[in-house]
Symmetry: D2
Subunit: 344 residues, 4 copies
């Protein structure tokens, strides 16, 4: 039984992780922690979990967590994880960070997009970018796993086969992504109020969203050259889900068969479904799946590749469990769902 600590257990991603681990056959939560709600029952904050997880929340103390747990999940504001994780912590527990602090290999890129100092750049080399479908082998045996962002997971997985197989021009890529409101977190902001979100759609962070360099890093590695791309996120009046619609110009002579062959890289992946029909976020809601589809447009010379995930599962907590499963040698799908009910 893997003993798990969760720091930041009462944010939406942390709470989803609490839920998934509560049902995981080979893991148990031993140290659930929350800065805001320490001392309270988890199920008083999330009454849906009453009877399933009634543990008392503890302080966000990583040292204590490392004494009790085999794996520590961090779901904390940007900049905090990098000030908490140390070699000593890593010697005691595997750390899976759901935040952004260890995702970017280059400290200066991090500091430029996040406008904050990185507190432990010496650890960047030890971290692995925890996108299993691309870096599975590197995840095994690592002590520090940077769990990818929600938009980034969806965008990278949708575009990776096209880039890896050199089917598209690497300049001019555009990603137009749409997210449910849980992506904005549980903090009490005016812009997250029901009446400010409902019955509307908006883009935000145009040209400046922090997930941009993360996508560029991973696709550049796949292309073996620097990729600069356009990423635009949107807020959608729904709880969960991300749809990433990716536009790129195809290289000359690329055929539909070429594209199919490129995506066959995923054919044994338990969490990837390549569809003929177009993805809809409801069909992955509550699951760790990525649904992907694409259309070649001979008229324009573009390929449109579309991916859908649940931002709190494959985009956060589910992928963190997937990474834990890999790191600890468990079956990768354990404790994770691969089919969605409807309507949900």
């Amino acid at each position: 039984m893997i003993k798990a600590a969760i720091l930041g257990a009462t944010g939406y991603a942390g709470a989803e992780l609490m839920r998934l681990l509560s049902y995981h056959p080979d893991a148990e939560i031993v140290y659930p922690a929350s800065h805001s709600y320490a001392g309270k029952k988890f199920s008083d904050i999330y009454p849906g979990m009453r009877g399933v997880c009634d543990m008392i929340l503890r302080e966000d103390d990583i040292a204590k967590a490392a004494e009790e747990a085999d794996v520590i999940f961090l779901s904390l504001p940007a900049g905090l994880a990098s000030s908490l994780v140390t070699p000593e912590i890593l010697s005691k527990a595997v750390v899976i960070d759901l935040g952004a602090d260890f995702r970017l290999h280059d400290k200066s890129v991090y500091e430029s997009w996040y406008k904050t100092e990185h507190h432990s750049p010496q650890l960047l080399g030890e971290a692995v970018y925890g996108l299993p479908e691309i870096h599975r082998d590197s995840i095994k045996g690592k002590r520090l796993i940077a769990n990818p962002g929600c938009y980034t997971t969806c965008s990278i997985m949708t575009l990776y086969p096209l880039v890896k197989s050199n089917l598209i021009k690497t300049d001019g890529i555009i990603i137009d992504a749409k997210s449910g409101t849980s992506g904005a977190g549980r903090s009490e902001k005016l812009g997250s109020l029901f009446c400010e979100v409902n019955e509307s759609i908006k883009a935000y962070g145009v040209t400046t969203h922090r997930h941009t360099p993360e996508i560029e890093q991973e696709l550049s590695a796949a292309a073996d050259k620097d990729i600069v791309l356009q990423f635009t996120p949107h807020l959608v009046p729904m709880n969960r889900g991300i749809l990433a619609v990716c536009y790129a110009r195809i290289e000359n002579g690329v055929t539909e068969d070429d594209v199919s062959a490129a995506y066959s890289i995923y054919e044994n992946e338990p969490f990837v479904r390549i569809l003929d029909t177009l993805p809809e976020t409801r069909f992955v809601k509550g699951t760790n799946l990525v649904d992907i589809s694409w259309r070649l447009d001979k008229r324009t010379g573009n390929i449109i590749a579309l991916g859908a995930i649940d931002n709190l599962v494959k985009g956060a907590a589910g992928q963190a469990v997937q990474n834990m499963n890999i790191a600890f040698g468990l079956p990768e799908t354990e404790g994770l769902v691969t089919g969605a009910g409807c309507p949900f």
Copy 2:
């Protein structure tokens, strides 16, 4: 391994049952059937289930189903089940009917509220009303189980302890219930269009809703006298969930301790949670739970008892699985969820 047939597998309740059974450790679907989609893959109709349940849908043929299955679930329009079920079918398979045909013991009550003929009144005596928390012992060994309605499950379970313990006056009970839109089913009706439901709330079926006699039948049995009550359903712009708010006048001298004692009848029930806080449908979404709370109002002499369920789970497919578990001697919670994530 219990072999299961589902007739009406592509309605919302039927599809939810397909999903639950797909993950059930001791059951397997052998005969999924759909009048509208026979010959097609279930996962083409419900793409969320691709990779999990890709079975071909068959004709709604109960005789064939009975040849192959140990249990037949019926999720059909009112009046159809009573024309399909026969002693011969029942000799071959347990039938769990998610529809209304076998819920009312009295044929004339059925015909008066449903405005349709009952085709097999001789079977009414063999059917058990499948609300496990009240009729568990009678369910065991029965061949014909009438799975309760969604509104009725929520309403009966909320009021039953008060009636059973004689704490309330049995005249003047009012149930004001609210349901998500999946309760209206998947048929292509104007009133179910997104733009006709969204951003609005309405009552419907005022004084005439068919779930009324079902609630009256069960509460009358508990009270051992005839109860006539007011039931008003509402349509809420959300996918799932029922909230039943029940009003009754308390008998003289009834205290909060009396009420607590009455509800303690549920204390070992795996699917019932008695709350101090008020129930919200989101906290039972996707689960087989009933969340119940109550308030005594000394000012008015009323008790307000509130119950919440997921209409497609405890209100339909989940309760059907619970009944199957009981009928076949499995642990009652098998394949069913007792904690809800949030937001979902």
Copy 3:
């Protein structure tokens, strides 16, 4: 041209009032004020109004407002209005208070339900309860108008004819009301976040909601005896709208014709529609209308009367304009809408 001041112009009710007055042919806003946003443009807070109302917001200073305005609208937290309004202010301007401070005639009832001191009980006698359909004649010429609450407007108007005509028993009245989320206001509360409201319904304030004594006061006056009733509000995942479903036992011998006759009291009211069909909040959205319908249930001996309004219009800002129109001798419907688009 009536010169209008609005204190609390950036809450949802205040902003709706700003919108209505911006289009009013005989009124102009001269003093828009906001405690939180003083110094900013109204249209920077409400960008939908850019180009229509770009005025700079001023301090919530009632004395200054009284110097410049003929009418002062107050849309402030409970307890604040009663500390601001003075005879001197009233000598300079008509005050229409959208809050609760002057609605209840009895100071002790106010203090008991609102748990706060009333700062100007001596003015209670000068205030009129501004429900035009009941108190129109008293509103004319008054200097202090207490604009009714949203739930109360809907509940009182639905039940008033039945009480006034002695058609129902006055004990045992139950009002089960449902409101859109704008009723919770624009403050940054966890419970108002999109992900906490969406896909759920809940009751709140059961037995304790502050609108209860307001409804009781008005219906008691109509009945000429004390009425104690049960009021239960709910939060619905939609922006706007209130539906009040009212249950009462009819007096012996009451017929449908009696009920029709009772409601004919409204037949010349420009903002009341008596329907054969059941009301839905979408059909009054954005309007100052009250849609009312009812059903007599001979089976139970109850009448179910249903009313629907837009909580921000007839339940707040629209009714405030209606009161202004009456107080200043304008046509009562001026600047107000009596038809709803759909879908909206």
Copy 4:
């Protein structure tokens, strides 16, 4: 007083037009018609309009309409308008067609995208593309006005200044557009059910949507060369609103001042607002406005231009009224709203 006929008065666009004309100071509806509901009251189909427009709906008979009306609005399925409009009709009434039949100048382009025959190609030369901000002068005096599509209005108006001023490369333009569900119309389709739309987002019509050639036609004319572009629409779980996010590569040396200057073409337009902040559909809901904003991204060399409209107003009925106002020499904003309440 302009006498107006509306054929197709009970679809969402037709009904919105009924609403707008009901309040228009210089127009009156004389011939409201509906194929499905002829003989019924308009307000029985749209109860929100009870008391405002209770006219009896007539048959969709354009000849009769032309006898009684000065202007005929058509809101009909594709292909029907082109079989109804004749020179004789046009000699009697101005026709404003909300459908697609007269929008494309080239019959073969129409037939290729719409997969249906065009029945009156000889009239294409007499039709004007009724986008007032671009073709105002041509609209005056025309008898046949092709009211633009919803996506197209939003997309063209957002991109037109950039194209007209030669600031962007005309190859590689991408429009990623998102629409509320009323855009799918009022027909009883599975895909429009509440439970199929709610809590999800999807793209549809990728590479094949019929609004593509309409956008290309207008932008090609502005550029004076052929433009081929990528257009992708999405379905959003909300009633109303379109957001078009347009991506293009800027020409060398283009500055923010150049872009501002290009958009100043709209500075006297009553229905266009150029914003510093990003547009949100809620801020134009219920109005005839187009909100536009843009961002230059030096990192990528792209401009992202964003436009928002209400699909039923500026995207359909409101623009039709605007066209009527122009055609009949009325003030262009008459009967149209230029400010949005919030939340709505």
